[in-house]
């Protein structure tokens, strides 16, 4: 079967930044994403313990390369300074490219 190349954007951030990330995605007309709670250690110390509001989440979004730049730019510009957040991009293959416009 033929696999089509698209981009997978993964954002690991504090749970209170999740809404901001999803709002940015929505602004770029991306409505589909997957998120799950995670824990880990990083520049802002051990995260995921204690209060619910201090947990971390991982948000995964598949999108076409054209949209990727502006989404990443906006996340970096609006969220990097104030939130615990890491993002990275990887190449993935999908079968139904029309699902990820």
């Amino acid at each position: 079967m033929k696999l089509y190349n698209v981009k997978l954007l993964t954002v690991t951030c504090e749970i209170l930044a999740q809404k901001n990330v999803i709002d940015i995605l929505a602004k770029h007309e991306i409505t589909g994403y997957t998120s799950y709670e995670v824990e880990g250690n990083g520049a802002r110390g051990l995260r995921g313990q204690g209060l619910k509001n201090e947990k971390n989440v991982k948000v995964e979004v598949i999108m076409q390369e054209e949209k990727l730049q502006s989404v990443v730019e906006e996340i970096a510009r609006t969220l990097f300074t104030n939130f615990a957040i890491v993002l990275y991009v990887s190449d993935v293959g999908v079968l139904r490219t029309e699902k990820f416009v």
Binding site: E14, L16, Q49, G50, L51, K52, N53, E54, N82, F83
Partner: protein
């Protein structure tokens, strides 16, 4: 009873002991932990119980008595928030964002502290007015809304000044207009979030249900919402102790000024609250709870609201000081102090009460 004796006997209540136990468990790096689902459930349960009791008592006493104390509480909460800001900004040299975030954290109310307070006065054999639960609900968003509004206004003022210095100012919009328009969208969201937030929804919902069912309807559920109440607080406070214990190291980082602030401010606010409430004619226990509303700092609702509204502020400052310092101080030391103050002013009821209030204010 002597104040030290009262603090001592308060120290030996299960609530405080389990809280301290939680801190110790965290310090020895035990993997003891209350499961997530339970620690999320307990605040909801506590608020439901507070609301039900409040609603039932309001059915007996009626609504009218509630309005004056409620308006006074809102006014004091706003005043205190402004006062905190000035102290933090001018004396503490915190930046604008941290100052407003901290000011509103301390101007807001703590529902967990409120539950502990209820259990404390019950232990002392006194009751409080039911409508305090309604004041708790109304007071929750007040300090945040003020702080968010003022932060946005200050930010737009800075932007305007910057533009002015660059000589690019053509619009004659006043800061106030910019502040209001920028705040509107932000505030709408915050208002919506805090009013539809689980704390206020469950609290208001249970007040209404309590009001509707009354004493008779409550009988069938009293085993859950009355007798289990203190026990549930105890379990929740293990978790609070663990979280506070994990943050003990951070306390050094918040600095001496904020440590002093997190002890002195609640004491000042709380004692004034007790005196004002006594002046308004609240009962001995009611005055303590009124004082506690003003003394407590928010640590569950605050991060959720402030991270969105004032993301520039460092959450480590306001969560650590509210949960790590003020909360233990309030439940261990300040509650007995306020109880003493309230007992003294209620004993001396024949003496002019306003004398006490004016003394307290000066």
């Amino acid at each position: 009873m002597d104040i030290l004796e009262l603090i001592q006997s308060n120290l030996l209540t299960p609530i405080v002991l389990f809280f301290l136990f939680g801190i110790i468990a965290a310090r020895i790096k035990s993997d003891l932990k209350i499961p997530d689902a339970i620690s999320e459930f307990l605040p909801i349960y506590l608020l439901a119980a507070i609301g039900l009791h409040g609603g039932i008592e309001m059915r007996n006493t009626g609504f009218e008595t509630m309005f004056v104390p409620m308006i006074v509480a809102i006014g004091m909460s706003l005043l205190f928030t402004l006062n905190h800001y000035q102290i933090l900004r001018r004396l503490g040299k915190f930046n604008l964002f941290d100052s407003y975030a901290l000011a509103s954290t301390y101007g807001a109310v703590g529902a967990v502290t409120f539950s502990v307070g209820l259990s404390f006065i019950k232990n002392q054999g006194v009751t409080s007015e039911g409508y305090l639960a309604a004041i708790l609900a109304v007071l929750e968003p007040v300090a945040f809304i003020l702080a968010i509004f003022l932060t946005n206004m200050a930010v737009s003022k800075q932007i305007k000044n910057k533009r002015k210095s660059l000589g690019k100012l053509e619009d004659s919009q006043s800061e106030l207009d910019i502040g209001i328009s920028e705040t509107k969208s932000n505030l709408k969201q915050v208002l919506h979030e805090s009013i539809t937030g689980k704390a206020i929804v469950i609290l208001l919902g249970s007040i209404i249900i309590g009001y509707v069912i009354g004493e008779n309807g409550f009988e069938s559920i009293s085993i859950v919402f009355d007798e289990l109440f203190t026990g549930a607080i105890v379990i929740f406070l293990i978790e609070m102790g663990i979280i506070a214990g994990q943050r003990l190291d951070d306390i050094k980082k918040v600095g001496g000024f904020l440590i002093a602030f997190s002890i002195i401010m609640p004491t000042f606010n709380g004692v004034i609250g007790v005196l004002v409430a006594t002046g308004l004619g609240l009962s001995l226990g009611g005055s303590v709870m009124f004082g506690l509303l003003l003394a407590s700092a928010s640590f569950i609702a605050a991060p959720a609201v402030l991270r969105h509204a004032i993301p520039q502020a460092k959450p480590s400052l306001y969560i650590t000081s509210a949960l790590g310092i003020t909360f233990p101080y309030n439940i261990i030391v300040l509650l007995p102090i306020m109880f003493m103050v309230s007992s003294i002013v209620h004993d001396a009821e024949s003496i002019d009460l306003f004398n006490y209030i004016s003394q307290g204010l000066i």
